[in-house]
């Protein structure tokens, strides 16, 4: 509703002065309340009103402009000359100096200080108070202090491929690299040429089973390799011509070259100082020593060493004592001497987890490393302790499949089932050759070898005696019913005995547990 009041003025009256006059009020519009509108509203009862009997205050925020401050050092190049003096002016400065020198206070102070200074100088000259004592004896003291053996992880590389990898990559010296994956072909990569294999062998002439190990041979051409696989063959190749192996050897212990009888090969060992010999570790737990230069295949296999229960995952000669070699298989690691074929000369106890790889330290003949299925890395020092590893580290939760030591013996890399490679540094004590170490280790090996030889001789004697006795008794008694139990019965008897022993052990344990419980209750 628009309320309008209209004023009118004649045009002729524009600009005339204003004459004000009084007039009573006039009612122009009177709008009465419309009670019907009240229906749109309701009465609010009660009303909430806040009242405060205090000073009303308001809050304001102010932020000043930021003041940037910086800390800086100042390099004084010239002293604090008085204002009127120009430091460049040589004469003025000299004059000023002369003035200062004439000052009495200056002279007194100098006399005082000079006395002090002279005293200290003379002190210095009389005795060298900063002399180093025990300088020459330092070295001896250092040698005696026993450093706790330790190893610390430097880096962990995670592989893209979720499978175990042989960590050749880091510690490889050669430019080319042959890798074998779990496929029967042997391929050779050249790290200079990129990530695709340069050449691969043909299927007809390759191994029939996964290739487990490949080693470069020492030759004039530098292009020879040989590979071993679980199909029982050891093949020699020339990488320039990968279509066919240059030589073939079948690991048949009966020396007949029969492939069905052959033992699957899992590891190879080759020492460049002895180019005609090499050793193969088999799936069946035998180590076969072979001669490359033999004329007939039968002569190629020289001898076998038995003693392990499972496939031999690692086989390496001691870098300083090539006659002794280390094998890692099943739950133990064993050290062998080439001359003793019946058994190893030294061995570790049976562990709770499988040992999957091992190697000697290239600098210390008494140190070797092993890795286990539960992810622990063991460092053994046979001069220090033979029963237990000198250092045992848990590297990761999954199984560690491979370990390699760098040539200086300080760094080692171990890789796990999930493809994670851990680079570790070991403490100086474990990678520096101690004095007499070589002599002590060779003594130890000789001693153990002698012991085994004596044991072997004794066994042979006993066997001869048994044989002669049994021959005699057979003649005396003539025909006798089958005294020997058949193989099946032997097995049944072994089982029975085993379970009896288990039961006895279990009962013993329970008894012990009960006594422990009683003790706890008493406390």
């Amino acid at each position: 509703m628009e309320i309008v009041y209209v004023y009118t003025k004649k045009r002729s009256e524009f600009g005339r002065q204003c004459n004000f006059s009084d007039r009573p009020a006039e009612l122009h519009v009177d709008i009465l309340p419309d009670t019907s509108l009240a229906a749109n509203f309701t009465v609010r009862d009660p009303c909430n009103v806040t009242v405060q009997c205090a000073k009303e205050m308001s809050e304001h925020e102010v932020n000043t402009e930021r003041f940037e401050s910086e800390s800086r050092g100042v390099n004084h190049v010239e002293g604090g000359w008085p204002k009127d003096l120009n430091p460049e002016d040589m004469e003025a400065t000299i004059r000023y100096r002369k003035k200062v020198e004439k000052d009495e206070h200056y002279q007194n102070t100098i006399m005082q200080i000079a006395g002090l200074m002279e005293h200290c100088c003379k002190q210095n000259n009389t005795t060298d108070i900063y002399q180093e004592f025990f300088e020459d004896e330092d070295e001896e003291v250092m040698e005696e202090s026993e450093e706790q053996p330790s190893a610390k992880t430097i880096n962990v590389f995670r592989s893209r491929y979720n499978r175990s990898c042989d960590c050749y990559a880091y510690l490889l010296v050669k430019q080319c690299m042959t890798t074998l994956l779990f496929n029967p072909l042997s391929a050779y990569w050249d790290t200079r040429k990129g990530s695709q294999p340069v050449e691969m062998s043909t299927i007809e002439h390759s191994h029939r089973d996964p290739v487990y190990k490949v080693i470069w041979l020492q030759s004039k051409t530098g292009t020879d390799i040989f590979s071993a696989s679980t199909d029982g063959q050891v093949l020699w190749w020339d990488i320039r011509k990968m279509s066919e192996p240059t030589e073939r050897l079948i690991l048949d212990p009966s020396k007949k070259g029969n492939l069905d009888n052959a033992l699957g090969a899992v590891s190879l060992e080759f020492e460049t100082t002895m180019p005609t010999k090499f050793m193969v570790g088999t799936e069946q737990g035998l180590v076969v020593s072979c001669n490359r230069k033999a004329k007939t295949p039968a002569e190629k296999i020289v001898c076998t060493y038995s003693g392990h229960h499972g496939p031999i995952y690692a086989l390496q000669r001691n870098p300083l004592f090539p006659k002794n070699f280390l094998t890692v298989a099943d739950w133990t690691a064993r050290i062998w001497s080439e001359d003793i074929k019946e058994s190893s000369i030294m061995w570790t106890k049976y562990h709770m987890a499988h040992l999957l790889d091992g190697c000697w330290s290239p600098v210390r003949p008494s140190v070797f490393f092993t890795v286990k299925m539960d992810g622990t890395l063991d460092v053994w020092d046979i001069l220090f302790k033979q029963n237990d590893p000198t250092l045992s580290l848990k590297v990761c939760d999954e199984a560690l499949y491979s370990i390699r030591v760098q040539d200086n013996g300080r760094f080692l890399g171990c890789s796990s089932q999930l493809g994670t490679t851990t680079l570790m540094e070991i403490s100086a004590g474990l990678c520096t050759l101690q004095k007499n170490e070589k002599a002590l280790v060779s003594e130890m090996f000789e001693r153990e070898t002698k012991r085994e030889k004596i044991l072997e001789a004794r066994h042979r004697e006993m066997r001869l005696k048994e044989r002669s006795r049994s021959e005699q008794s057979r003649e005396d008694e003539g025909k006798e019913a089958d005294g020997e139990e058949s193989a099946a019965e032997l097995v049944a008897r072994a089982e029975r005995e085993f379970f009896d022993i288990m039961e006895a052990e279990k009962k013993k344990e329970e008894k012990e547990r009960d006594t422990v419980k009683d003790v706890l209750l008493l406390e």
């Binding site: 390099n75 604090g80 100096r97 200056y106 100098i110 002090l116 200290c120 100088c121």
Partner: protein, 92 residues
């Protein structure tokens, strides 16, 4: 009179065995007298002054009655010996 003595004292110290040089610095950091070349003098003067102030502050902080008498800085090659002068307080 005293000046001659001062000269003589300085010469005596310089002639001591093992002394490489002497620098006398005033309160403003100006080297008054020096037996070394100019650049070394200025370097020593600037650095030593700050060190001296700091050392003195340390001593007096711990015990206000105490005061720094001498400061020796021993390094691999040589030793710097610093004797601080008395502080003058202007009463006027």
């Amino acid at each position: 009179m005293l000046q001659a003595e001062v000269e003589e004292t300085i010469k005596r110290i310089q002639s001591q065995k093992g002394v490489q040089g002497i620098i006398i610095v005033n309160a403003e950091g100006i080297p008054i007298k020096s037996t070394l070349d100019n650049s070394s003098t200025v370097q020593y003067a600037g650095n030593v002054h700050q060190l001296l102030m700091k050392a003195r502050g340390v001593v007096r902080d711990i015990d206000p009655q105490n005061d720094l008498t001498f400061l020796r800085v021993r390094s691999k090659k040589n030793e710097i010996m610093i004797a601080p002068g008395k502080e003058i307080t202007d009463l006027d």
